[in-house]
Protein backbone atom coordinates (compact mmCIF):
# COMPACT_ATOMS: atom_id res chain seq x y z
CA UNK A 1 0.00 0.00 0.00
CA UNK A 2 1.26 3.46 -0.80
CA UNK A 3 2.15 5.80 2.01
CA UNK A 4 0.47 8.68 0.23
CA UNK A 5 -1.80 8.53 -2.76
CA UNK A 6 -3.36 11.66 -4.20
CA UNK A 7 -5.86 11.26 -7.00
CA UNK A 8 -7.28 14.01 -9.17
CA UNK A 9 -7.07 16.57 -6.37
CA UNK A 10 -8.85 19.87 -6.91
CA UNK A 11 -9.09 22.83 -4.51
CA UNK A 12 -11.58 25.65 -4.35
CA UNK A 13 -11.32 28.91 -2.47
CA UNK A 14 -14.68 30.69 -2.54
CA UNK A 15 -15.56 30.41 -6.22
CA UNK A 16 -12.10 30.22 -7.70
CA UNK A 17 -10.34 26.97 -8.48
CA UNK A 18 -6.61 27.49 -8.02
CA UNK A 19 -5.65 23.81 -8.12
CA UNK A 20 -6.87 20.87 -10.17
CA UNK A 21 -5.75 17.60 -11.70
CA UNK A 22 -3.04 16.69 -9.20
CA UNK A 23 -2.28 12.98 -8.79
CA UNK A 24 0.75 11.21 -7.39
CA UNK A 25 1.77 8.26 -5.29
CA UNK A 26 4.53 7.89 -2.76
CA UNK A 27 5.85 4.66 -1.23
CA UNK A 28 7.59 4.24 2.11
CA UNK A 29 11.22 5.32 1.92
CA UNK A 30 10.69 7.33 -1.25
CA UNK A 31 11.28 11.00 -1.98
CA UNK A 32 9.04 12.79 -4.44
CA UNK A 33 9.95 16.24 -5.68
CA UNK A 34 7.17 18.65 -6.53
CA UNK A 35 8.64 21.38 -8.69
CA UNK A 36 7.31 24.41 -10.46
CA UNK A 37 7.56 28.18 -10.51
CA UNK A 38 5.76 30.41 -8.05
CA UNK A 39 2.02 30.24 -8.46
CA UNK A 40 2.07 26.70 -9.82
CA UNK A 41 0.20 25.23 -6.84
CA UNK A 42 3.02 23.42 -5.02
CA UNK A 43 2.23 24.82 -1.60
CA UNK A 44 -1.53 24.38 -2.10
CA UNK A 45 -0.87 20.71 -2.73
CA UNK A 46 1.07 20.51 0.55
CA UNK A 47 -1.65 22.39 2.41
CA UNK A 48 -4.30 20.03 1.03
CA UNK A 49 -2.44 16.99 2.34
CA UNK A 50 -1.92 18.67 5.71
CA UNK A 51 -5.60 19.62 5.90
CA UNK A 52 -4.71 23.27 6.30
CA UNK A 53 -6.87 24.67 3.52
CA UNK A 54 -9.52 26.05 5.93
CA UNK A 55 -6.82 28.47 7.16
CA UNK A 56 -6.98 30.29 3.84
CA UNK A 57 -10.69 29.76 3.38
CA UNK A 58 -10.30 26.91 0.95
CA UNK A 59 -11.42 23.30 0.75
CA UNK A 60 -10.82 20.16 -1.24
CA UNK A 61 -13.28 20.43 -4.10
CA UNK A 62 -12.83 16.98 -5.55
CA UNK A 63 -10.41 14.08 -5.57
CA UNK A 64 -8.97 11.85 -2.87
CA UNK A 65 -5.96 11.99 -0.56
CA UNK A 66 -5.16 8.61 0.94
CA UNK A 67 -2.52 8.45 3.67
CA UNK A 68 -1.55 4.92 4.70
CA UNK A 69 -5.06 3.71 3.96
CA UNK A 70 -6.84 6.65 5.65
CA UNK A 71 -8.94 8.86 3.40
CA UNK A 72 -7.93 12.32 4.61
CA UNK A 73 -10.65 14.28 2.85
CA UNK A 74 -13.38 12.69 4.96
CA UNK A 75 -11.87 12.55 8.47
CA UNK A 76 -12.87 14.96 11.23
CA UNK A 77 -10.76 17.89 12.36
CA UNK A 78 -10.06 16.02 15.62
CA UNK A 79 -8.64 13.04 13.78
CA UNK A 80 -6.65 15.39 11.57
CA UNK A 81 -5.11 17.05 14.61
CA UNK A 82 -3.77 13.69 15.72
CA UNK A 83 -2.15 13.05 12.35
CA UNK A 84 -0.81 16.53 11.80
CA UNK A 85 2.50 16.84 13.61
CA UNK A 86 2.06 13.21 14.65
CA UNK A 87 2.26 10.85 11.72
CA UNK A 88 2.66 13.65 9.18
CA UNK A 89 5.39 16.22 9.82
CA UNK A 90 5.69 19.59 8.08
CA UNK A 91 8.86 21.56 7.46
CA UNK A 92 8.07 25.09 6.40
CA UNK A 93 9.93 27.44 4.15
CA UNK A 94 10.97 30.20 6.48
CA UNK A 95 12.67 29.05 9.67
CA UNK A 96 12.82 32.68 10.81
CA UNK A 97 9.04 32.83 11.29
CA UNK A 98 8.09 29.25 12.12
CA UNK A 99 9.44 29.29 15.67
CA UNK A 100 7.92 31.13 18.63
CA UNK A 101 10.34 33.98 19.37
CA UNK A 102 9.30 34.17 23.04
CA UNK A 103 9.93 30.56 23.90
CA UNK A 104 13.18 28.61 24.23
CA UNK A 105 13.62 26.21 21.36
CA UNK A 106 13.90 23.06 23.50
CA UNK A 107 10.43 23.30 25.06
CA UNK A 108 8.99 24.11 21.62
CA UNK A 109 10.24 20.76 20.37
CA UNK A 110 9.09 19.06 23.59
CA UNK A 111 5.51 20.16 22.96
CA UNK A 112 5.26 17.86 19.96
CA UNK A 113 6.18 14.65 21.74
CA UNK A 114 4.18 15.59 24.83
CA UNK A 115 1.09 16.12 22.70
CA UNK A 116 1.44 13.23 20.30
CA UNK A 117 3.39 10.59 22.24
CA UNK A 118 2.09 11.40 25.74
CA UNK A 119 5.62 11.90 27.04
CA UNK A 120 6.03 13.57 30.41
CA UNK A 121 8.28 16.60 30.81
CA UNK A 122 11.49 14.67 31.51
CA UNK A 123 10.92 12.10 28.76
CA UNK A 124 10.17 14.82 26.24
CA UNK A 125 13.30 16.75 27.15
CA UNK A 126 15.50 13.65 26.87
CA UNK A 127 13.95 12.87 23.52
CA UNK A 128 14.43 16.41 22.22
CA UNK A 129 18.10 16.43 23.21
CA UNK A 130 18.65 13.08 21.54
CA UNK A 131 16.90 14.33 18.41
CA UNK A 132 18.98 17.51 18.26
CA UNK A 133 22.07 15.32 18.47
CA UNK A 134 20.78 13.18 15.61
CA UNK A 135 20.42 16.33 13.52
CA UNK A 136 24.12 17.04 14.08
CA UNK A 137 23.50 20.06 16.26
CA UNK A 138 26.58 20.58 18.42
CA UNK A 139 26.10 20.53 22.21
CA UNK A 140 22.36 19.79 22.12
CA UNK A 141 21.97 20.04 25.90
CA UNK A 142 22.98 23.70 25.92
CA UNK A 143 21.31 24.56 22.59
CA UNK A 144 18.08 23.34 24.23
CA UNK A 145 18.01 26.49 26.36
CA UNK A 146 18.51 29.04 23.57
CA UNK A 147 15.94 31.38 22.10
CA UNK A 148 15.38 31.41 18.31
CA UNK A 149 17.02 34.84 17.87
CA UNK A 150 20.26 33.45 19.26
CA UNK A 151 20.58 30.98 16.41
CA UNK A 152 21.55 31.22 12.75
CA UNK A 153 19.12 30.46 9.92
CA UNK A 154 20.54 27.01 9.23
CA UNK A 155 20.36 26.09 12.90
CA UNK A 156 16.76 27.28 13.13
CA UNK A 157 15.85 25.16 10.14
CA UNK A 158 17.31 22.15 11.97
CA UNK A 159 15.09 22.95 14.96
CA UNK A 160 12.06 23.08 12.64
CA UNK A 161 13.12 19.69 11.27
CA UNK A 162 13.48 18.39 14.83
CA UNK A 163 9.90 19.52 15.56
CA UNK A 164 8.67 17.73 12.45
CA UNK A 165 10.44 14.55 13.54
CA UNK A 166 9.61 14.69 17.24
CA UNK A 167 6.53 12.49 17.05
CA UNK A 168 8.18 9.91 14.80
CA UNK A 169 6.19 10.63 11.63
CA UNK A 170 5.85 8.34 8.64
CA UNK A 171 5.49 11.15 6.16
CA UNK A 172 7.37 14.43 5.97
CA UNK A 173 6.33 17.35 3.84
CA UNK A 174 9.07 19.90 3.28
CA UNK A 175 7.90 23.10 1.60
CA UNK A 176 10.93 24.86 0.14
CA UNK A 177 13.08 23.93 3.15
CA UNK A 178 16.25 25.59 1.89
CA UNK A 179 15.04 28.60 -0.07
CA UNK A 180 15.91 31.08 2.67
CA UNK A 181 19.38 29.61 3.25
CA UNK A 182 22.86 30.10 1.82
CA UNK A 183 24.25 27.49 -0.56
CA UNK A 184 26.64 25.85 1.89
CA UNK A 185 23.86 25.57 4.48
CA UNK A 186 21.43 24.37 1.83
CA UNK A 187 23.84 21.55 1.04
CA UNK A 188 23.93 20.59 4.73
CA UNK A 189 20.14 20.55 5.11
CA UNK A 190 19.48 18.64 1.89
CA UNK A 191 22.07 16.04 2.87
CA UNK A 192 20.48 15.77 6.31
CA UNK A 193 16.98 15.24 4.88
CA UNK A 194 18.29 12.53 2.53
CA UNK A 195 20.02 10.74 5.42
CA UNK A 196 16.90 10.95 7.63
CA UNK A 197 14.72 9.37 4.95
CA UNK A 198 17.16 6.45 4.72
CA UNK A 199 17.72 5.98 8.46
CA UNK A 200 14.09 6.27 9.51
CA UNK A 201 12.52 4.82 6.37
CA UNK A 202 10.36 7.92 5.95
CA UNK A 203 8.48 9.17 2.94
CA UNK A 204 9.30 12.71 1.94
CA UNK A 205 7.44 15.18 -0.24
CA UNK A 206 10.02 17.79 -1.18
CA UNK A 207 8.54 20.96 -2.61
CA UNK A 208 11.02 23.20 -4.38
CA UNK A 209 11.51 25.47 -7.36
CA UNK A 210 15.11 24.31 -7.74
CA UNK A 211 15.52 21.60 -10.36
CA UNK A 212 19.07 20.91 -9.20
CA UNK A 213 17.91 20.00 -5.69
CA UNK A 214 15.37 17.62 -7.22
CA UNK A 215 18.00 16.02 -9.45
CA UNK A 216 20.25 15.37 -6.47
CA UNK A 217 17.72 14.02 -3.98
CA UNK A 218 14.43 12.75 -5.39
CA UNK A 219 13.33 9.34 -6.63
CA UNK A 220 10.43 10.71 -8.58
CA UNK A 221 9.19 14.07 -9.70
CA UNK A 222 5.93 15.84 -10.35
CA UNK A 223 6.16 19.03 -12.39
CA UNK A 224 3.42 21.61 -11.86
CA UNK A 225 2.37 24.62 -13.87
CA UNK A 226 -0.37 27.18 -13.24
CA UNK A 227 -2.24 25.15 -10.65
CA UNK A 228 -2.08 21.76 -12.27
CA UNK A 229 0.30 18.82 -12.66
CA UNK A 230 1.73 18.54 -16.15
CA UNK A 231 4.22 15.72 -15.92
CA UNK A 232 5.35 13.04 -13.49
CA UNK A 233 7.85 10.22 -13.63
CA UNK A 234 11.13 8.86 -12.32
CA UNK A 235 13.83 11.44 -11.77
CA UNK A 236 16.07 10.02 -14.51
CA UNK A 237 13.25 10.01 -17.06
CA UNK A 238 12.26 13.56 -16.25
CA UNK A 239 15.77 14.93 -16.62
CA UNK A 240 17.04 12.75 -19.45
CA UNK A 241 13.99 12.79 -21.68
CA UNK A 242 11.35 15.25 -20.50
CA UNK A 243 8.03 14.70 -22.30
CA UNK A 244 6.26 17.95 -21.62
CA UNK A 245 7.59 21.06 -23.38
CA UNK A 246 7.35 22.98 -20.09
CA UNK A 247 9.54 20.48 -18.25
CA UNK A 248 12.04 20.67 -21.07
CA UNK A 249 11.99 24.46 -21.02
CA UNK A 250 12.35 24.54 -17.23
CA UNK A 251 15.48 22.40 -17.43
CA UNK A 252 16.75 24.75 -20.17
CA UNK A 253 16.56 27.63 -17.67
CA UNK A 254 19.28 26.20 -15.43
CA UNK A 255 22.56 28.00 -16.05
CA UNK A 256 24.66 25.19 -14.58
CA UNK A 257 27.40 23.76 -16.76
CA UNK A 258 26.44 25.58 -19.95
CA UNK A 259 29.32 26.39 -22.27
CA UNK A 260 30.12 29.49 -24.29
CA UNK A 261 28.16 28.15 -27.23
CA UNK A 262 25.06 26.92 -25.41
CA UNK A 263 23.26 30.03 -24.21
CA UNK A 264 20.57 30.23 -21.61
CA UNK A 265 17.03 30.02 -22.93
CA UNK A 266 14.24 31.57 -20.92
CA UNK A 267 10.55 30.91 -21.38
CA UNK A 268 8.69 33.81 -22.97
CA UNK A 269 5.95 35.35 -20.85
CA UNK A 270 5.06 34.61 -17.25
CA UNK A 271 3.03 32.14 -15.21
CA UNK A 272 -0.61 33.27 -15.38
CA UNK A 273 -2.47 34.13 -12.17
CA UNK A 274 -5.50 32.18 -10.95
CA UNK A 275 -7.92 34.60 -12.58
CA UNK A 276 -6.24 34.35 -15.98
CA UNK A 277 -5.74 30.62 -16.49
CA UNK A 278 -5.85 30.17 -20.27
CA UNK A 279 -8.26 27.78 -21.97
CA UNK A 280 -7.11 24.35 -23.06
CA UNK A 281 -3.55 23.59 -22.03
CA UNK A 282 -2.56 26.27 -19.53
CA UNK A 283 0.96 26.40 -20.94
CA UNK A 284 -0.08 27.01 -24.56
CA UNK A 285 0.50 30.79 -24.68
CA UNK A 286 4.17 30.22 -23.78
CA UNK A 287 4.70 26.96 -25.63
CA UNK A 288 6.71 26.77 -28.84
CA UNK A 289 4.88 23.64 -29.99
CA UNK A 290 1.35 24.94 -29.38
CA UNK A 291 -1.26 24.43 -32.08
CA UNK A 292 -4.99 25.04 -32.25
CA UNK A 293 -5.90 21.92 -30.30
CA UNK A 294 -3.86 23.21 -27.34
CA UNK A 295 -6.02 26.34 -27.09
CA UNK A 296 -9.27 24.39 -27.16
CA UNK A 297 -8.83 21.06 -25.41
CA UNK A 298 -7.39 20.41 -21.98
CA UNK A 299 -4.79 17.66 -22.44
CA UNK A 300 -5.24 14.54 -20.32
CA UNK A 301 -2.42 12.52 -18.79
CA UNK A 302 -0.94 10.03 -21.25
CA UNK A 303 0.68 7.25 -19.27
CA UNK A 304 3.65 5.32 -20.59
CA UNK A 305 5.08 2.95 -17.99
CA UNK A 306 5.92 4.84 -14.82
CA UNK A 307 5.71 8.23 -16.47
CA UNK A 308 2.90 10.45 -17.58
CA UNK A 309 2.53 13.84 -19.19
CA UNK A 310 -0.45 16.04 -19.93
CA UNK A 311 0.36 17.34 -23.39
CA UNK A 312 -1.17 16.85 -26.81
CA UNK A 313 2.29 16.45 -28.28
CA UNK A 314 4.00 14.59 -25.46
CA UNK A 315 6.09 11.42 -25.43
CA UNK A 316 7.54 11.53 -28.87
CA UNK A 317 7.19 14.77 -30.74
CA UNK A 318 8.40 16.79 -27.78
CA UNK A 319 11.64 14.91 -27.44
Amino acid sequence: MSMLRVQDLGVSIANIYPLSGVSFELERGEIIGIVGESGSGKSLTAMSVMGLLPLIGGQVDHGTIEFDGIELTSISENQYRKLRGGRIGLITQNPMTSLDPLKKIGPQVDDVSRLHLDHDKAQAKARTIELLGDLRIPEPASIYHLYPHQMSGGMKQRIVIAMALAADPDLLIADEPTTALDVTVQAQIIRLLGDLVKQRNLSLVLITHDMSVVAQTCDKVMVMYAGTAIERGGVHDIFNSPSHPYTKALIGCIPHGLSETVRLKGIEGTVPGVAQYPSGCRFHPRCALAEDICKETVPVFETAGSRAAACHFALGTAQ
Binding site: E37, S38, S152, G154, M155, D182, V183, T184, V185, Q186, A187, Q188, I190, R191, H209, D210, M211, S212, V213, A215, Q216, C218, V235, H236, F239, N240, A249, L250, I251, G252, C253, I254, P255, H256, G257, L258, R263, L264, K265, G266, I267, E268, T270, V271
Partner: protein, 318 residues
Protein backbone atom coordinates in the same frame (compact mmCIF):
# COMPACT_ATOMS: atom_id res chain seq x y z
CA UNK B 1 41.76 46.99 -22.88
CA UNK B 2 41.00 50.27 -21.16
CA UNK B 3 40.35 50.20 -17.47
CA UNK B 4 36.95 51.58 -16.53
CA UNK B 5 37.03 51.11 -12.80
CA UNK B 6 39.92 50.74 -10.41
CA UNK B 7 39.22 49.94 -6.78
CA UNK B 8 42.14 50.20 -4.36
CA UNK B 9 42.26 48.95 -0.76
CA UNK B 10 38.63 49.80 -0.22
CA UNK B 11 37.32 49.32 3.32
CA UNK B 12 34.10 50.08 5.12
CA UNK B 13 33.76 49.81 8.85
CA UNK B 14 30.38 50.06 10.52
CA UNK B 15 30.12 51.02 14.18
CA UNK B 16 27.31 49.61 16.26
CA UNK B 17 26.21 49.93 19.85
CA UNK B 18 27.73 52.61 22.00
CA UNK B 19 24.66 53.29 24.14
CA UNK B 20 24.78 53.45 27.92
CA UNK B 21 24.61 49.66 28.24
CA UNK B 22 26.27 48.59 25.03
CA UNK B 23 29.95 48.60 24.28
CA UNK B 24 30.96 50.02 20.90
CA UNK B 25 31.52 47.25 18.39
CA UNK B 26 32.88 47.65 14.93
CA UNK B 27 32.58 45.41 11.91
CA UNK B 28 34.51 45.48 8.70
CA UNK B 29 31.81 44.90 6.09
CA UNK B 30 34.35 45.39 3.33
CA UNK B 31 38.01 44.96 4.13
CA UNK B 32 40.91 45.98 1.92
CA UNK B 33 39.35 45.11 -1.43
CA UNK B 34 41.24 45.92 -4.64
CA UNK B 35 40.38 45.05 -8.21
CA UNK B 36 40.01 46.62 -11.61
CA UNK B 37 37.41 46.26 -14.32
CA UNK B 38 38.10 46.73 -18.02
CA UNK B 39 35.57 48.10 -20.48
CA UNK B 40 33.11 45.48 -21.71
CA UNK B 41 33.85 42.93 -19.01
CA UNK B 42 31.38 41.21 -16.72
CA UNK B 43 32.88 40.85 -13.27
CA UNK B 44 31.02 38.62 -10.83
CA UNK B 45 31.07 39.00 -7.06
CA UNK B 46 29.95 35.92 -5.12
CA UNK B 47 29.70 34.97 -1.49
CA UNK B 48 27.19 34.00 1.15
CA UNK B 49 24.90 36.45 2.88
CA UNK B 50 26.79 38.89 5.05
CA UNK B 51 30.04 38.66 3.10
CA UNK B 52 29.91 42.31 2.04
CA UNK B 53 28.80 41.97 -1.59
CA UNK B 54 26.10 44.61 -1.44
CA UNK B 55 28.18 46.98 0.68
CA UNK B 56 30.91 46.71 -1.96
CA UNK B 57 28.38 47.62 -4.66
CA UNK B 58 27.28 50.69 -2.77
CA UNK B 59 30.87 51.72 -2.12
CA UNK B 60 31.79 51.46 -5.79
CA UNK B 61 28.95 53.82 -6.71
CA UNK B 62 29.73 56.00 -3.70
CA UNK B 63 26.21 55.59 -2.35
CA UNK B 64 27.97 55.24 0.99
CA UNK B 65 31.34 56.70 1.89
CA UNK B 66 34.20 54.27 2.45
CA UNK B 67 36.30 54.30 5.61
CA UNK B 68 39.46 54.16 3.52
CA UNK B 69 40.63 53.29 0.03
CA UNK B 70 40.15 54.69 -3.44
CA UNK B 71 37.81 54.33 -6.39
CA UNK B 72 38.90 55.50 -9.84
CA UNK B 73 36.17 55.65 -12.44
CA UNK B 74 37.08 56.64 -16.01
CA UNK B 75 40.37 57.99 -14.60
CA UNK B 76 38.60 60.27 -12.15
CA UNK B 77 39.01 59.96 -8.40
CA UNK B 78 35.42 59.35 -7.41
CA UNK B 79 35.93 60.05 -3.73
CA UNK B 80 37.35 63.53 -4.42
CA UNK B 81 34.36 64.69 -6.45
CA UNK B 82 32.27 67.55 -5.12
CA UNK B 83 28.49 66.92 -4.98
CA UNK B 84 27.67 68.61 -8.31
CA UNK B 85 30.22 66.90 -10.55
CA UNK B 86 29.52 63.69 -8.62
CA UNK B 87 25.87 63.87 -9.61
CA UNK B 88 26.80 64.43 -13.26
CA UNK B 89 29.15 61.45 -13.03
CA UNK B 90 26.40 59.23 -11.68
CA UNK B 91 24.84 59.26 -15.14
CA UNK B 92 27.76 57.06 -16.22
CA UNK B 93 27.31 54.49 -13.46
CA UNK B 94 23.98 53.00 -12.52
CA UNK B 95 22.62 50.27 -10.32
CA UNK B 96 19.94 47.63 -10.78
CA UNK B 97 18.51 46.56 -7.46
CA UNK B 98 17.67 43.14 -6.13
CA UNK B 99 14.02 43.61 -5.35
CA UNK B 100 12.08 45.10 -8.27
CA UNK B 101 8.98 45.21 -6.06
CA UNK B 102 10.41 47.91 -3.82
CA UNK B 103 12.81 49.62 -6.25
CA UNK B 104 10.08 51.52 -8.10
CA UNK B 105 7.84 54.10 -6.45
CA UNK B 106 4.35 52.55 -6.39
CA UNK B 107 2.76 55.92 -7.18
CA UNK B 108 4.84 56.46 -10.32
CA UNK B 109 3.66 55.25 -13.67
CA UNK B 110 6.23 53.29 -15.65
CA UNK B 111 6.74 56.40 -17.79
CA UNK B 112 7.47 58.47 -14.67
CA UNK B 113 9.84 55.82 -13.40
CA UNK B 114 11.97 55.57 -16.52
CA UNK B 115 12.09 59.33 -17.13
CA UNK B 116 12.89 60.25 -13.54
CA UNK B 117 16.66 60.03 -14.19
CA UNK B 118 16.34 62.84 -16.79
CA UNK B 119 14.69 65.14 -14.25
CA UNK B 120 17.34 64.39 -11.69
CA UNK B 121 20.11 65.19 -14.17
CA UNK B 122 18.33 68.41 -15.17
CA UNK B 123 17.46 67.42 -18.73
CA UNK B 124 14.29 69.21 -19.71
CA UNK B 125 12.25 67.44 -22.34
CA UNK B 126 8.84 68.19 -23.79
CA UNK B 127 6.08 65.69 -23.14
CA UNK B 128 6.47 64.43 -26.68
CA UNK B 129 10.20 63.88 -26.32
CA UNK B 130 9.58 62.07 -23.05
CA UNK B 131 7.10 59.78 -24.80
CA UNK B 132 9.68 58.93 -27.43
CA UNK B 133 12.38 58.35 -24.81
CA UNK B 134 10.06 56.10 -22.81
CA UNK B 135 9.10 54.09 -25.87
CA UNK B 136 12.77 53.69 -26.83
CA UNK B 137 13.79 52.54 -23.37
CA UNK B 138 10.90 50.12 -22.96
CA UNK B 139 11.59 48.71 -26.40
CA UNK B 140 15.24 48.24 -25.48
CA UNK B 141 14.31 46.00 -22.56
CA UNK B 142 11.65 44.11 -24.47
CA UNK B 143 8.55 45.74 -23.00
CA UNK B 144 5.59 47.04 -24.96
CA UNK B 145 5.22 50.83 -24.95
CA UNK B 146 1.58 50.37 -23.97
CA UNK B 147 2.85 49.67 -20.46
CA UNK B 148 4.07 53.27 -20.13
CA UNK B 149 0.92 54.43 -18.36
CA UNK B 150 0.68 51.37 -16.08
CA UNK B 151 1.57 51.36 -12.42
CA UNK B 152 4.12 48.96 -10.92
CA UNK B 153 1.48 46.81 -9.19
CA UNK B 154 0.03 45.96 -12.60
CA UNK B 155 3.31 44.40 -13.72
CA UNK B 156 4.81 41.00 -13.00
CA UNK B 157 8.14 40.66 -11.20
CA UNK B 158 10.02 40.07 -14.44
CA UNK B 159 8.44 43.10 -16.09
CA UNK B 160 9.28 45.25 -13.08
CA UNK B 161 12.89 44.14 -13.22
CA UNK B 162 12.94 45.13 -16.91
CA UNK B 163 11.66 48.56 -15.89
CA UNK B 164 14.48 48.68 -13.32
CA UNK B 165 16.97 47.98 -16.09
CA UNK B 166 15.36 50.51 -18.47
CA UNK B 167 15.67 53.16 -15.78
CA UNK B 168 19.30 52.33 -15.22
CA UNK B 169 19.95 52.61 -18.96
CA UNK B 170 18.16 55.94 -19.40
CA UNK B 171 21.28 58.07 -19.08
CA UNK B 172 23.57 55.93 -21.26
CA UNK B 173 25.79 54.64 -18.48
CA UNK B 174 29.12 52.92 -19.02
CA UNK B 175 28.90 50.77 -15.90
CA UNK B 176 25.96 48.87 -14.46
CA UNK B 177 26.18 47.39 -10.99
CA UNK B 178 23.68 44.54 -10.82
CA UNK B 179 22.91 43.57 -7.23
CA UNK B 180 21.29 40.13 -7.39
CA UNK B 181 18.97 41.26 -10.19
CA UNK B 182 17.30 37.86 -10.49
CA UNK B 183 17.25 36.65 -6.88
CA UNK B 184 13.53 37.25 -6.41
CA UNK B 185 12.46 35.94 -9.81
CA UNK B 186 11.40 32.52 -11.08
CA UNK B 187 13.95 30.55 -13.08
CA UNK B 188 12.19 31.01 -16.42
CA UNK B 189 12.10 34.76 -15.85
CA UNK B 190 15.66 34.76 -14.52
CA UNK B 191 16.78 33.24 -17.81
CA UNK B 192 14.89 35.96 -19.75
CA UNK B 193 16.55 38.72 -17.73
CA UNK B 194 20.02 37.20 -18.12
CA UNK B 195 19.57 36.93 -21.91
CA UNK B 196 18.37 40.52 -21.97
CA UNK B 197 21.46 41.66 -20.04
CA UNK B 198 23.70 39.75 -22.45
CA UNK B 199 22.06 41.39 -25.46
CA UNK B 200 22.27 44.88 -23.93
CA UNK B 201 25.93 44.44 -23.10
CA UNK B 202 26.72 43.65 -26.73
CA UNK B 203 24.49 46.39 -28.16
CA UNK B 204 25.49 49.20 -25.81
CA UNK B 205 29.04 48.11 -24.96
CA UNK B 206 28.24 48.03 -21.26
CA UNK B 207 30.42 46.88 -18.39
CA UNK B 208 28.77 44.92 -15.58
CA UNK B 209 29.54 44.16 -11.99
CA UNK B 210 27.26 41.25 -11.25
CA UNK B 211 26.60 40.41 -7.62
CA UNK B 212 25.07 37.06 -6.84
CA UNK B 213 25.06 34.16 -4.43
CA UNK B 214 24.35 31.73 -7.26
CA UNK B 215 27.68 30.34 -8.35
CA UNK B 216 26.38 28.48 -11.40
CA UNK B 217 24.73 31.65 -12.67
CA UNK B 218 27.90 33.65 -12.10
CA UNK B 219 30.00 31.03 -13.88
CA UNK B 220 27.62 31.18 -16.80
CA UNK B 221 27.34 34.95 -17.08
CA UNK B 222 30.65 36.44 -15.97
CA UNK B 223 34.14 36.76 -17.43
CA UNK B 224 35.90 36.79 -14.08
CA UNK B 225 34.73 36.22 -10.53
CA UNK B 226 35.65 37.71 -7.16
CA UNK B 227 34.91 35.36 -4.27
CA UNK B 228 34.24 37.16 -0.99
CA UNK B 229 34.22 35.83 2.54
CA UNK B 230 33.52 38.07 5.52
CA UNK B 231 34.44 41.30 3.80
CA UNK B 232 37.58 40.16 2.03
CA UNK B 233 38.21 38.94 -1.47
CA UNK B 234 39.67 35.47 -0.95
CA UNK B 235 40.08 34.52 -4.58
CA UNK B 236 39.78 35.99 -8.06
CA UNK B 237 38.89 33.44 -10.69
CA UNK B 238 40.45 34.92 -13.86
CA UNK B 239 38.02 32.99 -16.04
CA UNK B 240 35.07 30.81 -15.22
CA UNK B 241 36.81 27.59 -16.22
CA UNK B 242 39.65 28.14 -13.74
CA UNK B 243 39.84 25.54 -10.98
CA UNK B 244 39.31 26.88 -7.46
CA UNK B 245 42.48 27.41 -5.44
CA UNK B 246 40.95 28.67 -2.21
CA UNK B 247 39.34 25.98 -0.02
CA UNK B 248 36.32 28.25 0.46
CA UNK B 249 35.73 28.59 -3.28
CA UNK B 250 36.11 24.82 -3.57
CA UNK B 251 33.42 24.35 -0.90
CA UNK B 252 31.08 26.83 -2.58
CA UNK B 253 31.46 24.95 -5.85
CA UNK B 254 30.92 21.63 -4.10
CA UNK B 255 27.75 22.96 -2.49
CA UNK B 256 26.10 23.70 -5.82
CA UNK B 257 24.01 20.83 -7.06
CA UNK B 258 24.24 19.41 -10.56
CA UNK B 259 20.89 19.43 -12.34
CA UNK B 260 21.54 15.87 -13.50
CA UNK B 261 20.37 12.83 -11.50
CA UNK B 262 23.08 10.81 -13.26
CA UNK B 263 25.73 12.93 -11.59
CA UNK B 264 24.60 12.40 -8.02
CA UNK B 265 27.29 12.71 -5.47
CA UNK B 266 27.52 12.68 -1.75
CA UNK B 267 28.14 16.22 -0.72
CA UNK B 268 30.42 16.57 2.25
CA UNK B 269 28.93 19.75 3.60
CA UNK B 270 31.09 22.38 5.20
CA UNK B 271 30.90 22.25 8.97
CA UNK B 272 29.54 25.27 10.79
CA UNK B 273 28.32 28.55 9.45
CA UNK B 274 29.71 31.96 8.63
CA UNK B 275 30.97 33.42 11.94
CA UNK B 276 29.86 36.81 13.22
CA UNK B 277 31.58 39.63 11.34
CA UNK B 278 32.18 41.41 14.65
CA UNK B 279 35.56 40.76 16.25
CA UNK B 280 37.07 38.60 13.57
CA UNK B 281 40.04 36.39 14.43
CA UNK B 282 43.48 37.80 13.57
CA UNK B 283 44.25 35.15 10.95
CA UNK B 284 42.26 33.86 8.02
CA UNK B 285 38.52 34.31 8.69
CA UNK B 286 37.81 30.95 7.10
CA UNK B 287 40.34 29.03 9.24
CA UNK B 288 37.76 27.67 11.74
CA UNK B 289 35.79 25.93 8.98
CA UNK B 290 38.65 25.08 6.65
CA UNK B 291 39.66 21.44 6.14
CA UNK B 292 43.28 22.35 5.34
CA UNK B 293 43.83 24.92 8.09
CA UNK B 294 47.02 24.85 10.15
CA UNK B 295 48.24 26.85 13.14
CA UNK B 296 49.58 29.57 10.87
CA UNK B 297 46.09 30.21 9.45
CA UNK B 298 44.65 31.29 12.78
CA UNK B 299 47.45 33.78 13.49
CA UNK B 300 48.68 35.17 10.15
CA UNK B 301 46.36 36.93 7.75
CA UNK B 302 46.90 35.60 4.22
CA UNK B 303 47.24 38.31 1.58
CA UNK B 304 45.79 38.15 -1.89
CA UNK B 305 48.87 37.14 -3.86
CA UNK B 306 48.76 36.87 -7.57
CA UNK B 307 50.95 34.20 -9.05
CA UNK B 308 50.17 33.02 -12.56
CA UNK B 309 47.38 35.58 -12.89
CA UNK B 310 45.12 33.77 -10.44
CA UNK B 311 45.08 35.67 -7.14
CA UNK B 312 44.22 33.75 -3.99
CA UNK B 313 44.47 34.68 -0.32
CA UNK B 314 45.41 31.41 1.33
CA UNK B 315 48.46 29.93 3.07
CA UNK B 316 47.69 26.51 1.64
CA UNK B 317 46.12 27.00 -1.79
CA UNK B 318 44.78 23.91 -3.55
Amino acid sequence: MTTLLEVGNLSKKFISGGGPFRPVRSMHAVNDVSFSVSVGRVVGVVGESGCGKSTLARLILRLIEPTSGSVQFEDLDLLAQKPKPMRALRARMQMVFQDPYSAIDPRYTIRDAVTEPFDIQGHRYTAKEEDTKTAELLDMVGLSEHLASSYPHQLSGGQKQRVGIARALALNPALLVLDEPTASLDVSVQAQIISLLERLRDELNLTYIFISHDLSLVKYFCDEVLVMYLGRVVEVLPDTEAAARHPYTRTLLDSTFDPDPGLRRTIEPLAGEVPSPFDLPPGCAFAARCPSATGKCSTDLPVLSSDGGHPVACHHPL
